[in-house]
Amino acid sequence: MSSNRIISEWFEQYSDDIYHFLLYRFGSTDIEDLVQEVFIKAIKGFHAYEEKASPKTWLFSIARNVAVDEYRKRKRLNLGKMIPFEHLHEPKSENTPENILQLQKEHADLFKAIQALKPNYRDVIILRGIKELSVAETAEILKWSENKVRTTLHRARKVLLQKLGGLI
């Protein structure tokens, strides 16, 4: 099977998973272009793809790299405009993730708390908590040891619970 056929099949299978990851990673809905970028990078890197990794974890690891680059880019742009860091995730229009996701109160609070986490914590919470990937898969995606995944998840959950205060 040709590489473009394979990538196109993977797009059908995994584009929604990648979309969820980026949606929660950025807390904004303008991430469709990033979904596209993930699969373009997959096309370019396909010949380096080792079949011992599952396509899903491979695509997630590309998405994570794309997210890290984009985060740096956005941070730089926003700093240039002198927008305080804490306003980076402020909704800009009615088309907010909260509206699109039609979040109930508890989920909306959790959504905000996740956005306030530092990126490493956010990654592990999205992959393990929301996407329910295994420790081994998460370790492969983040290029961490399984021990580090467990430790970071443990800390991230603790911070999340603190941020949610008495809400849970």
Binding site: S2, I7, S8, E12, S15, D16, H47, L101, E106, G129
Partner: protein
């Protein structure tokens, strides 16, 4: 208890966070663009490969000429160099204790961790007890700390694998066999008080039985995990157990040691027992037994 409830509630909330699909029109647009880009990239790549092949062709003619020259001039000093290479290889094997082995399935040579008694692939999912006989672990899927694992056996060095049995466990990341019958898996389960436990077969992977392992009193209340036991002889084996103590992730290591082929295990919190010594290095442990050394991630 309250903490446990909060964690469970948080996990449930996370699991049930909405997961909307990409809008179908947007999806179609992105897919079209990806396919276009893919064709464009493939075309460009083929072009580059053609050019490379052409330059390789020219280069090989030049190499052939150089090689003929080298062959004639090097005949005198060849014996000496062979000796030097042999010395270099033996040092390298002693340090890393990795052995190349043909992975028939993937048609490539991979390095296997060699204890002098067993050979493991780097992930610990394949173990060989001799040149021909090996066992392989495969996660067939599942979720929520309940996965189905299949154990397959090869008697022809990995050319063919035959499934021997399956078992449902929480989280297993490797296997170990000491002969054609006796093998071990390590189950890392949410059962905090007993985890990790050893899962043992005495009939080549068909049936499995749980065996509890000792836990040093100092580490009873903390998170612990282990991968797979490594044996240096049919009786002497080790199982490193890693864990962390608190929110700051202060990690610890203790070693489970057997001297009777896995029937009984002793938990050692020092870094030495009889001929065995070990040191921790970040996420790795380096274990020495007599003149052998292996590194386990």
């Amino acid at each position: 208890m309250r903490n446990h409830d909060h964690n469970k509630e948080l996990d449930d909330l996370l699991r049930t966070m909405p997961k909307p699909n990409l809008h179908h029109e947007k999806k179609a647009t992105i897919k079209k663009s990806i396919i276009e880009q893919s064709f464009h990239y493939e075309h460009k790549r083929k072009h580059v490969i053609m050019r490379k092949r052409l330059s390789y062709g020219l280069a090989s003619i030049a190499t052939l000429a150089l090689f003929s020259f080298f062959l004639i001039t090097s005949l005198n000093g060849s014996g000496k160099e062979e000796k030097q290479n042999a010395a270099y290889q033996s040092t390298e094997e002693k340090i890393y204790n990795l052995e190349p082995r043909e992975n028939v399935e993937e048609n490539e040579q991979r390095y296997f961790l060699n204890s002098g008694f067993q050979q493991f692939d780097e992930e610990g999912n394949i173990v060989y007890v001799n040149k021909q006989v090996g066992f392989k672990l495969k996660n067939l899927g599942g979720g929520a700390s309940n996965f189905e694992y299949e154990i397959a056996k090869t008697i022809d060095g990995g050319k063919t694998w035959i499934a021997k049995g399956t078992t449902r466990l929480s989280h297993v990341t490797g296997l170990s066999f000491i002969n054609e019958d006796t093998g071990f898996l390590v189950n890392n389960s949410p059962a905090f008080e007993v985890s990790p436990t050893l899962i043992v077969t005495q009939n080549g992977g068909k049936d499995w039985k749980e065996q509890q392992l000792p836990i040093p009193a100092a580490y009873k209340d903390f998170y612990r995990q282990a991968k797979f036991p490594v044996f240096f002889t049919s009786s002497v084996g080790v199982l490193p157990v890693f864990g962390f103590k608190n929110d700051e992730g202060n990690s610890f290591l203790y070693m489970l040691v057997t001297n009777d082929g896995g029937a009984t295990w002793q938990a050692i919190t020092k870094n030495q027992m009889n001929d065995l010594t070990w040191t921790e290095n970040h996420d790795q442990v380096i274990i020495n037994y007599q003149n052998r050394q292996i590194e386990i991630n």
